[in-house]
């Protein structure tokens, strides 16, 4: 992430939080919780990845799971 992306992400977080105002007036708690959890994930994820140096990519799981099938198709048809 460069500085520009960080600025844009911060702005998007702010815009997301602004959405809470009308929901607050209508007392829509579930919806507010959804926004809060999304913004929290969006803020915490890069911080956790940087500080704890986590190298976890959910897509690796997908590759790990489906690669054998792809290899099997390759063996049959290639």
């Amino acid at each position: 992430l460069n500085v520009f992306s960080l600025v844009m992400l911060t702005l998007m977080c702010l815009f997301s939080l602004l959405e809470i105002v009308p929901l607050w007036k209508k007392k829509l708690r579930k919806e507010m919780a959804a926004i809060f959890s999304c913004v929290s994930v969006a803020i915490l994820l890069p911080i956790l990845y940087r500080t704890l140096k986590i190298d976890f990519n959910p897509m690796n799981g997908l590759v790990w799971l489906f690669r054998p099938v792809a290899n099997w198709i390759d063996r049959i048809f290639m």
């Binding site: 992306s5 009308p22 913004v39 990519n57 959910p58 997908l62 198709i73 049959i76 048809f77």
Partner: protein, 362 residues
Amino acid sequence: LPQKLNLRARQFFILVTLYMLGSAILIMPGNLAIVSKQDAWIAAVMVILIGLGTMWLVFGVYKRFPEKNLVEINAEVFGRRLGFLASLLFFILFTFTITALTIRNLGDFVVTTMIPDTPLGLITIMFILVIIYSAKVGFTAATYASEIFFPWVVIIFIVLCLALLTEMKLDNIKPLFDNGVKPIIGAALHHSGFPFMESVIFLMLACETKQGEKIGKAWFFGILTSGVMLTILTFMAISVLGPIQTNLAIYPTLELAKHIQIGRIEIIISILWFITILIRLIVIFYVTLIGLAQTFRWQGYKFFSFPLGLLVMEAMILYVPNSGYLFELYKVWGNYAFVWGVVYPVLLLVLPKRKNDNSPAA
């Protein structure tokens, strides 16, 4: 939740066509040529057949539940709790992932080919803002936009084909079936998942049409038109560039456009890709948005556009650490899409309906 969209069959046809063309128009010829070489265009024809088969399967689900969208169908087939889980998994693991991967693909394409010094974040965020805006103003606006853009897509496609007619060398596609039929079938099986096994997402839109009886035809011709356009592009890529260059090029259709000897016309031709990918993004983002809103029984969905855009932005960076990894993902995507695009609709078709309808939308 949103009022009924009242999509017309023609609008549905255009949405299906543009959705299927988006992204695939850039990478499909190259992906098919990796294995099937000069027979890639035959593999593309097989991909259409697989796509039509998948569409027929999903259309069967639509005919079984014509008035219901996917979230309601899940609740009716799997019951309240399992249906909730199925919807959640579908929208997070499938449609959300497609959104993140598509936007990453578009960003990579722009950075690699047009403005290499510009940060990827800047380009993708602009597209994310556009799709957020389109979700905010409502999906009807996007369908009208797609109606306006569709003739442009067809015109630019025809111009591209006509301009390249003189560059075609039919020797490049010979000999036919040089490596046998097996590699062609293998390539078609690998690459039919993207995009033709994504038909299932249209179950969220098919129930929003006001000409229900014409929807099957619109769906069928949408898949067929996009498939034929992709096959023509693959044929042209092979016959103009040759199988080796088509295989080596990251974006073979861009290389094709570069063969037209009129200034930097490939940038004008790029409009074709921008329009199709943008419509694809708008559709998949909207489907994810209303899908999640209905699954969690939120009042409305527009308030979630910015938070979802934010998550898409992060997922795009997290899921694909570098552009090479995206091509690694394409190799397994077909098998993954098979689970959601074929196995899941089969379950929706075969499993009996529950008597107590506790649909989340009720």
